[in-house]
């Protein structure tokens, strides 16, 4: 169960990054633009489910391990930041998708870029947290 949720949230996060890049490469007249924007926004909301389940059910044991190890800041700074930054991913994605649906593609570009960068940073922070669990 834990591994399934772990891979699901990684795949969803990577999809958000990949789809944002694909959207940014589209022409504003592309037929793919609106459906792809809606799908990306939907994934960013659904991403909260496996992430939340992992954080609430499986992370507490890892947290104890990290805080007792030599990298306690991996939890105190990076996990705490990551878990809250993640709540803004669907907000950013929905705003970007709404701008696309309102035919303001040019205006949406910086929101897709922010979404892509933020999702990537959250992924890097996740890696730091994992390394924190192994640092004894």
């Amino acid at each position: 169960m834990r591994d399934l949720l772990l891979y699901l949230h990684i795949i969803a996060g990577l999809s958000v990054i990949t789809f944002s890049i694909v959207i940014l490469l589209q022409d504003k007249k592309s037929n793919w633009l609106k459906p792809l924007s809606a799908i990306t926004a939907a994934i960013s909301w659904l991403l909260l489910l496996p992430s939340g389940k992992l954080y609430l059910t499986f992370y507490p044991a890892t947290k104890t391990l990290i805080k007792a190890g030599s990298w306690p800041w991996a939890h105190s700074i990076f996990m705490e930041t990551k878990e809250h930054w993640g709540l803004l991913l669907p907000i950013i994605a929905t705003t970007a998708a709404f701008l696309v649906y309102s035919d303001r593609f040019k205006e949406s570009r910086k929101w897709w870029i922010l979404l892509m960068i933020l999702a990537a940073l959250i992924g890097v922070m996740g890696r730091i947290v994992t390394m924190g669990g192994m640092a004894q």
Binding site: G52, L56, L88, I91
Partner: protein, 95 residues
């Protein structure tokens, strides 16, 4: 799409999140209260932030907030919120 203003919703959601993070960390009874109502403080923040985004997005349709274009204010509020949350946890760890 004209009925929903994502910029105003984004401004409300990002500002609320930064405020909730700081308030819950600095005042433990508030964090306990959030957890008691929503089973966990993270779920409380997720529900309240999503609600703020939707409610303010539908209720406030102005193109300007505090005399500033809402496009600009929502952009800087989300960047500010991200920076404040990160800096807050760095400061909290070292102090």
């Amino acid at each position: 799409m004209k009925k929903f203003n994502p910029y105003n919703g984004t401004f409300a959601a990002s500002t609320l999140l930064a405020a909730l993070v700081i308030a819950a960390e600095l005042y433990a009874p508030f964090k306990t209260f959030l957890a008691s109502v929503f089973t966990h403080h993270w779920i409380a923040k997720a529900v309240l932030v999503a609600a703020a985004f939707i409610i303010v997005g539908f209720a406030c349709k102005k193109d300007e907030l505090f005399g500033v274009k809402n496009e600009k204010i929502s952009w800087y509020s989300i960047l500010g919120s991200l920076a404040i949350i990160f800096l807050f946890y760095i400061i909290e760890f070292f102090i």
